[in-house]
Amino acid sequence: MKKKTLALILALATTISLMGCGNTNTQETAAESQDSEAAEESTEADTGAEETANGENTYHYTFVSPLVSHEYWIDVEEGIQAGAKEQGVDVAVLGDTKVDVDAMVKYIDTAIASKVDGIITMALSPAAIGPAIDRAVDAGIPVVLVDTDAPESKRAAYVGTSNYDAGYEAGKAMIDATGGKAKIGIIRGTIGQETDNDRIKGFEDAIKDEPDMEILTTEACNSDMLTGTQKAQDMLKAYPEMTAIFGSEGTGAVAAGKVLEEQGLSGTITVIGWDDTDECLDFIRTGVVKGTIVQKPDFMGRKAVELLTRINNGEELTETVIDSGVTFVTAENVDTYKDAQ
């Protein structure tokens, strides 16, 4: 704890003195604060390493997270740490509070430079992350991807359900929930985000053969809850014929739920969402939201650590693509699905 505070103070002091010079540009300031976070994280990891590395030989892995402060990735991280405990290895976490592919590449390179025994990450943009993965593998460091794959790269294995497949599952769930008759509004995150694109593509493909299903509109809420509620309100008015809403990331369904509840429309519109935030689960319990697609971040993390350790132990992997599957959480399994995982 003391170390952590010290690192923070140091980072702050550097930042302030840099700003005092007056010629710091914003990027540097940004980088500074990123570094301070990284420093904080690694200090944390160091303390962990000291405990486990007590004379004993152990593997050191790095997990490069695309978004350290996000619930979903925190779950992945928890799975990784649980896996690390099982395997008796040590995992350090690097990552940013904003989704930034450049920062991820930078962190992967940092991990390569510090000669870790394995890297876990996700291919935010396969084109950008792929070369970094190859660099790691060329340096003799195995890489396991979670959540999003980069099949063209030299990665050793991939654990996850592709966003397209998960989106397809969401579409099938929507068909089941509406009996194949629905006019749908989609609330997505940011425009142009690949994960969202894939999920929506999968969703569309799942329902395209249903004659009575139709997508009315797609609005973006920028993963901002207030914007989400405003978009939901506007959609309800602009499309009175709308009977279902699909939220392709964590915000949309919850935002729609808030609006429906407020306007006393609970139950009249079938809402299917994404991720199991507490708010979303509560809406499922009260019936405002029909169900939500949950990828298994925890499982992905655990499995990834296991695979890396097997590779390091000289094992040849027979399966390099492991489907983690999705869970569709509804009122029936809302209180039990976590145990089933």
Partner: protein, 313 residues
Amino acid sequence: MKKKISMNGLIKIVPLAILCIVTGMINPVFFAGSNLIDLARSVSFLLIVSVGVTYVLLGASLDMSIGSVMGLGGAICGLCLVNNLPIWLSILMGLLASAVVGIVNAVLIVNCRIPALIATLGTMYVARGIVNVLTKGEPYYPLPDEFKVLGQGTLAGIPYSVFIAVVIVLIAHFVIKKTSYGRSLMAVGGNREASRVSGINVKRTLFSAHVLVSLLAGFVGIIMAARLSSAQPNAGDGWEMTAVAAVIIGGTSMYGGYGSVLGTILGCALMETISNAMVLLHVSVYWQKITIGIIMVAAVGMDTFRLKKIASK
């Protein structure tokens, strides 16, 4: 001269009026009571922050940290609430935290003479960082029902936040037009050196404007949490841009010393109406940003043109 000013005011309403009429003609739902109320609520949130931004811009300063301060105000308030602190105390704590950021901004800008853009970019990261450390990325939830009233309650069908915004706007307008503080702020923004020589306390004036904008941002963060029944860690992300855009579209100069709170109302109304109208008009989401961008550049272009015209006189 007086007549000219009111003519200018009228011209500013024209784009908004056209937008409303066209939208209403294509989709009559626009003028439905429920839509107008929703619109009013959206405007009220943006407006409260933008009033603060108007003050800072009038003083020829800048604050990029308001989005993060909104997140911080909401998060601190949410943190207190989930720990069962009384509502009034939680709100106070949220405001206090926001004010602290404002004070830090003011000290950096006014006392340490760090350029406002850089100083507030720094606090923007720090404040958002604090929110992330506190929340670990998860919203504070659930919040007590009595608190939610602040963001969800209505009086005669109109959300409280609208009344709050109206009161804040009236006070802010009065202060700018009728008080020696408002006059000092305008003077400082117009010519900082001349104001200092004329015996105006430039530091105190700018200091208070920076604390005020943070307080207002934090306050919106709090009612936003009440509105959403949860304090979201990314609340307010990017709002600094939206608010600055609204204020500039409302005719306040980036260079300080020129503008009004009333103009800011128009700017906020225009921004929110565009985003509402786009959905009602079934316009693709991709076009929304393009439209806002064009309006923004046009508005700033008009500002520059106005300055040029004065200069050439």
